[in-house]
Amino acid sequence: MSDQRLGANFINRQSFIELDARERATALFDAGTSRELVGPFDRVESPWLEQQGVTPQEDDGCVVMKGKIAGQAAVVIALEGAFQGGSLGEVSGGKMAAALDLASADNVKGISTSAVILLETGGVRLQEANLGEAAIAEIMAAILVLRQHAPVICLTAGTVGCFGGMSLAAGLCSYVVMTREARLGMNGPEVIEQESGVDEFDSKDHALIWAIDGGEQRYATGLADALIEDDTAQIADAIRQFVSKGVPAVHRSSQVELYRDRIATLDTSRQWDPAEFRVLWATKSSKEDKK
């Protein structure tokens, strides 16, 4: 890409990262087809936060929208990263699990309905601990059911990224779409540093974090299916393509032998460089999909 084109794109694009959860969800639907379910005016908020001195948000940081994507029925569930770090509580987790279950029910009735989950989250909301854990388990079960009928697409655009239990949910999705700014990982950098020391992972080293958890690395190592610019039109286009593509022949998380072998052959007696690791895990499919 020439510098001139990059400049023009940068000026003309509409950033997706700068949108809030509701705007992000709306932007993915075919124009004028979306409607929100259990929105802020329904006032289904967390009953636990106020007791702990935290102001609740009326949608509990989870936006559920129904509509059409590429002409097909779809549900988009977006987590608001700015509210409590996009964490999953009893209500936000319940909303996501219920929406996925309803999509499955529609598929069983013969109405093909895919799901897009927008994950900007650190995982379980600590103030609602066990209820959040239970909700994530329900979400993962719901994804496993739904993905048999229709694609479940995970979009992590940034800048919160997707960590903790919800990274496992992302791993179960039919397709994972990321931007260069997004991060995807089980344990966040600060958690690793806290548990294993700064020698293991320096959470202040942003270049290191993105070299390991960043969208570019995840895509290059075959753990994400598309790497898209932070541009609303391009991201919406990528989502439409994956919705049209339908259920993949084999889900990534079903390739147990492949990943078991890869991990078994990995020499853990020495420190791996992210660039070196990228060569080792580079998959044929991740190269083929590259635009």
Binding site: G39, P40, F41, V54, T55, P56, Q57, E58, A82, F83
Partner: protein
């Protein structure tokens, strides 16, 4: 956590509701809904205690120019007075678009 309730007179009927903002650090969420009658009720929940006078001053000023009959709920996570004014203005604009 502090709850603040304020009432203001209103003259004009509003037909559309509006939602703006997010309960993120230094920001707030505003829910504006049409109300019956000739008064407006403002209900504030804030995680920062002890700023009742400031909230009243900010809302008093806002209602010197706004006369819609509405119910406003504010969920605040430590927004500055300027930010509160902007979010309120944004909600009004969205409700009259």
């Amino acid at each position: 956590m502090e709850h603040i309730e304020l009432d203001y007179p209103a003259k004009r009927k509003i037909s559309k509701k509006a939602h703006t903002g997010v309960v993120g650090s230094g920001d707030l969420e505003v829910l504006l809904e049409p109300a019956n009658g000739d008064s407006t009720h403002v209900s504030i929940r804030t995680s920062v205690d002890g700023f009742g006078k400031t909230w009243k001053a900010v809302l008093d000023r806002f209602f010197t120019t706004y006369d819609g009959a509405v119910r406003i709920q504010i969920n605040d996570a430590g927004a500055t007075p300027g930010n509160v004014q902007l979010r309120l203005a944004q909600a009004v604009e969205a409700s009259e678009r």
